[in-house]
């Protein structure tokens, strides 16, 4: 797994390198019994590089995920968990392109109770919002989001969350922030097959056992006692 930030950045800047071949997959004991041969590649994290994000967008997202999920004693940092890759893949997926989203006009902003009312798909929203967010950053701090200090990043993200930052000529800031935050959480806790939650770091953080869930015995055995977990993901049992 590519853990070297410089090397990773080089990948992300568009070098066409397949990372999958270099990755090894260790199947935990319980899954090894299942017929898994021949599908090992599926269990490797998504290849680096962006499908959707432009360099500016990539730098913004990397800075966001590394700020929200910093490296500490609990987990590695967001980019090392693949959260930027998760977001890129999500935006390139059917969801990012507006699958299951009713997209006919007329368009009105509506009340808060009426939910998402923008004419944009998620990927269009990101595309419109990131330059506007960076412009707001430049206005406030003289630099784009990826170049400002951690304190400034914190203040800026809180400002977006609370609707105090304005995205000039851009989408409503809280709508964008809400989606961004949700996607960071998805990257952190969705199955690693989607590119984030690398090494199941998010699952380990909350003691989530993953996809194997035959708990008829465990329900009594671990009453009021933490169940030890070694989470398995989809790829581990494919």
């Amino acid at each position: 797994m590519d853990r070297d930030p410089e090397g990773r950045r080089a990948f992300l800047r568009g070098a066409v390198v397949s990372g999958a071949a270099a990755m090894t997959t260790t199947l935990p004991a319980t899954a090894a019994a299942q017929p898994a041969a021949g599908k090992a590649a599926a269990s490797a994290p998504a290849a680096p590089g962006y499908v959707f994000l432009s360099p500016e967008e990539g730098a913004f997202i990397e800075a966001v995920v590394d700020h929200m999920i910093p490296a500490d004693s609990l987990t590695a940092k967001g980019t090392d968990l693949g959260l930027h890759t998760y977001i890129d893949r999500a935006l390139a997926s059917g969801w990012g392109k507006g699958e299951r989203l009713y997209r006919q006009g007329p368009w009105k902003q509506g009340t808060g109770n009426q939910g998402y009312q923008l004419p944009m798909t998620p990927s269009e929203l990101y595309r419109a919002a990131i330059p506007a967010a960076n412009a707001a950053c430049v206005k406030a701090y003289g630099k784009t989001f990826d170049k400002i200090t951690p304190e400034q990043r914190e203040a800026f993200l809180v400002g977006m969350q609370q609707g105090k930052v304005t995205l000039e000529n851009g989408p409503p800031v809280r709508t964008f922030f809400g989606m961004l935050y949700q996607n960071v959480m998805e990257g952190m806790f969705a199955d690693p097959i989607y590119g984030g939650n690398r090494d199941k770091a998010g699952w380990k953080l909350v003691n989530f056992p993953g996809v194997i869930a035959t708990n008829q015995q465990n329900i009594d055995k671990f009453r009021d006692r933490k169940m030890p977990t070694n989470p398995l993901g989809i790829a581990d049992i494919s």
Binding site: R100, L101, Q114, G115, Y181, A190, P209, A213
Partner: protein, 593 residues
Amino acid sequence: MAARKLKEVDAVIIGLGWTGGILAKELSEAGLKVVALERGKMTTTDADFQLQQVRDELRYVQRQEMMQDASRDTVTMRNTPKQDALPVRRLGSFLPGEAVGGSGLHWSGGTWRWSDNEFKVRSLYEQRYGAKFISSEMSDLRDWGITYAEMERYYDKFEYVAAVSGKAGNLKGKVQPGGNPFEGPRAREYPLPPLKSVLSSQLFAEAATKAGYHPFPRPAANASRAYTNPDGATFGGCQYCGFCQRFGCEANAKASPHITVVPAAMKSPNFELRTHSWVTQILKDPSAKRVTGVLYTNLLTGEELEQPASMVVLATFTMNNTHLMLLSGIGQPYDPATQTGVIGRNYCYETRTGANLFFEGRSFNRFISAGGTNWVIDDFNANWNFDRGPHGFVGGYIVSAGHNTNLPIGNRPVPGGTPAWGTAWKEALAKWSDSSMGITSSGGSMPHRYNYLDLDPTYKNAFNQPLLRMTFDFKENEHRMNAHAAQVVNELAKSLNATRMSSANGKPQSWTVVPYLSTHNGGGTPMGTDPKTSAVNPFLQSWDAHNLFVMGANVFPHNGAYQPTGLVGALAYRTADIIKSRYMKNPGPLVSA
């Protein structure tokens, strides 16, 4: 181009979820030539719900893979008639299903017997509190025209088909220890013993007992052990997999139409299922007060077809059922200005609040759960001794606790005041998320003059038909009920002496399309004994076309505190029974208007 006309059949069933499945089996076994038209695809456990795909929260919860595709058809919503309704562009508050099995594929399985408190709601409250107790805005509150005693055998039927696990609280009039003492008398025990409880439900049960309430395990259609139902469908024992609500069940432990009534219907040579078949209209013959069949589109080819039928069963879930009635011009649409008309009337939803508790050092293992691992109290619902007088509301609420499908993307409990990201957030998550439990109330929702469904004047679905428009908000009755529920929830919560707690909110709330609330939508084609205010008679037969039977919770004149499907299923069996015993011999109105 005119629709290609097919050969007439005896019965066409629109939608093959719980109610469609029940009617499909019963009518084809009775010898009728039955065609079911389902807009979604076929479903089997082997093809659709196996490891490794099935346990994928992102796919099934966040991306809503098994739900109605809002890009093709959705509803518009507003809180009051003065607002502009806007489309629910991404489903949120409720999640109807779209495949063979319907919402029955991904429900939790909570299965209840609604009591005479609901069916006789107007007469009971008037007798006890006087007619003034019910506000004029709630004038559509009514007796349903059915009784618990009539429904008992049909509840029983559904429970035995659906492998409901529970403990009887009242056997033939004798209150039983361990069950719900407020339920109506049942002829026999549940088919299966209750599911195992989890720590959170235990703590709740202890607190509730201490407070003088009567906790019991939630009856649920999650088989507590291997089971074969009366139709020969086999169930595995529940694995407490924690992926219950919104997921298919890998173990065939959760009752779903796709493993019960649908395969049973398919055994009959009289039954034909057509998937990917979207019904756009029920065709009527106005002079004769009959429907003549349906118009549908084959979604795989785009071809439009007409399926003539001697009888039509509408079984497409609450909103779609009401929508199709409006699109087909059957029954007069409801107009809140004059309070005339019946289709779209009495639309009701659900009233909820809850508290979150955090116990330092405890492990709930919240990922181990089933749809029915909760415990419940019914002291403020089916208990008619609970005096609503001083609190000024009609209806009731249940209170429950115990984890049910708490997965890590969507369920990340941390105490109030925790930052939303960063190291401090991670620390709080690691420390508290599995040391937390909730206590929740779910209450009824009463009809209100300005809560209704009609056709949207602006927005269209993929077939260029107007969307259904939902005008709904919680009203005074719900606010009062919620205030009372919050107080009870908070008192119970406090008695557990948690390290940290976020209290239940008892303030008036307004309905919003995000986040998820429940898929317990009711009303829209209410049943009743007066054709002026009801769309169907108590046998669920349309007053306007005697060969049209309308299934689903849309026939509820109000919504109770219980989850709907126990009653929805029982009513479907009752309709099947009356069709077989009376209607087939002598087609015509079963109740004279």
